[in-house]
C-alpha cells in the first residue's frame, strides 16, 4: 500500500483546526513524522473487523445521572486565581470582534 502522505498543506490545515501556530520548519518536520506514524497505524486495514462493534469505553456506560442539587464549588477568587488578566470578577480576553 502506498504511503498515506500528509502534505505540508494538510499539516497547516490541521494546525489551524487545532489552534496551533506552526513555523515553516515545524510544518516540514511534522509532515514527515505524521506521515510515518499514519503509514504505520494504517496496518489496521489488514485486520478483519467484520461485524465487531466499536469499543470506546471499557465500562460501556452511557449516562450517569445525579440529583440536581446545589453543592459547594470554587469561589470567584479561586476560579480567577490562574487567569492572566481579570476585570471586575471576569476573565479578560482578547477582542475577537472588530468595531
Amino acid at each position: 500500500m502506498p504511503k498515506q502522505v500528509l502534505t505540508e498543506k494538510e499539516v497547516k490545515h490541521i494546525g489551524k483546526l487545532s489552534n496551533l501556530e506552526l513555523s515553516e520548519k515545524e510544518t516540514q518536520k511534522f509532515s514527515a513524522e505524521l506521515t510515518d506514524i499514519l503509514d504505520f497505524v494504517e496496518n489496521l486495514s489488514a485486520v478483519d473487523t467484520g461485524e465487531t462493534p466499536a469499543l470506546s469505553n471499557i465500562n460501556e456506560k452511557t449516562n450517569v445521572f445525579r440529583e440536581d442539587e446545589v453543592r459547594p464549588g470554587l469561589t470567584q477568587k479561586q476560579a480567577l486565581k490562574n487567569a492572566k488578566e481579570a476585570h471586575k470578577g471576569f476573565f479578560k480576553v482578547p477582542a475577537i470582534l472588530k468595531e
Binding site: 487545532s18 489496521l44 466499536a54 490562574n82 492572566k84
Partner: protein, 461 residues
Amino acid sequence: MDSLYQLSILEAKEGIKKGSFSREELVKSVLSRIEEVEPKLNSFVSVNKEAVKDARKKDQEKEDKALSGIPVAIKEVLSTIDIKTTASSRVLENYYPAYDATVVAKLKENGAILIGKTNCDAFAFGASTENSGFGVSKNPYDLERVPGGSSGGSASAVAAGETIFALGTDTGGSIRQPASFCSITGLKPTYGACSRYGLLAMASSLDCPGPMTKTAEDAETVFNLIKGKDPKDATSVDFPEKKLQTGKIRIGLPKEYFSDGIDKEVKEAVLKAVKSFPEKDFEFTYVSLPNTGYAIEVYYIITPSEISSNMARYDGIRFGKERKYFEDEVKRRIMLGTYTLSAGYIDQFYLKASKVRRLITNDLENAFKKVDLIIGPVSPTPPFKIGEKTDDPLKMYLGDILTASANLAGIPGISVPCGFADKGLPIGMQIMGPRFSEELIFFVSKTFQTLTNWHKARPKI
C-alpha cells in the same frame, strides 16, 4: 539511622509506631537524600518546603492514621491544591490548582506528607521523560539512561530513596514501564478503580492513577486507600469485594510476549522468574493473544484522538500560557488526533481502531477463561540511552507493545523487579489479570517477593 529514606511504607510505619524515629526525622532523611542526589537525577519539578513542618505537627498530635508522616511524591499531572502543578509542560509553568485530585486528597486524609511533585513527559505524553519541559530525569541505575516514562520522575525518586513511595499515572504503560526501568513495583489498576478527578486528562478512556512503591505489599496498602467510586468521576466504580480463590493458580504465558522482537536478556529474566514459583501452587501454560500485535496501532489512534479533544481546554486565558508553548510531542499528538477524528478519516482511523480495541479485549477475556493471570515482560528492552529514540517518535511508540493492551482492555497490571541485564540494567516482570483481580495480582507479587530479593536491590548513587 542514617538511611531512613530507604525504608518501605510498612517499615517506616513500624519505626514511627515503635518510637524508633519520628515523622520529622523520616521527612528530614528523605529531604536530605533529595538534596544529595537530585542534582544528578532531576526526579522533581518542585519540592514541598512545608514537609518538615507538616511532620512536626503530626508528631506533636501523635496522629493515628494509615500513612501518618509517610512521605509521598506525586506526579506532575495530578492536581495538588495551591502547589504548582505543571504537567511538566511550560504551558502550565505557573499553574496552581484550586483543588486536590481525589487520589491525592485520599492520601492526605490518611496522613501522608507530600514531599514533592515529580517530573514526567509533558502531559504524560511519552515513555522516557525526555518530552518534559523541565529537562529529562535520569535512571538511578545508569545516569546516561532514561528512567522510563511517563512517570519517570516518580520511579527514579522511589528507587533512589528520594521518597518512601509515589503516585504515577498509566495510560499506555506509564507506571509499569518506569517501574520496570528503575527496579521498583508499580501498579496500573483496573480502569475506573481509582478516580481520575484532578488528573490532567490525557486519554480519558485509558488514564489510571496508581501506586509506585518499593514492595508489592506497599502497593497493596496504597491501592486500598485510593480506590473506590468518586461522584466527581462518572467512570469510577465501586471495587467489588472478592474472596481469594483456593487451589492452584493458573498462569498463562502469552507466546506473543516472548517473540523474536523482545530482548533476549529480558525474556530470559522473566522466564527464570516464572520458574521460582512452586509447582504445587502454580500451573503454567502458554496462551495466545493474536490481536495484541496491533496494540500500538490502536493505541496511537485512540490516544491522540482523545488527546486532541482533551487538550482543547488549554486556551491560555483562564489559566496557563498560549498553545504555541506546547512541547513538540504535545503538538504532534494533538494534530494526529485532529486528523484521525476529522471528516473523511474517522471511519478509517478512529472507528477502525475502536473495533480492533474490542478484538484485543476479547483476546484477553478469552485467555482469562483458561488462566487466572498472565505473566510476561513489561518492556521489550532494558532502559535505553537518553537521546536514543528522540529523533524518531515512531520508534519510541513501539516500546509500548507489551503494556498498551492492558489499558485498551481496562485490566490491571503490575510490574515487579525480576532481575538485571548484563550491564546492571533493571528488568521487570508484568502480571496482568481480569478486571478487579488486584487482590490476586498482589498475592502473586507478594509471593514472588518472598521467594526472591530483586525488589531489595538499591542503586549505587
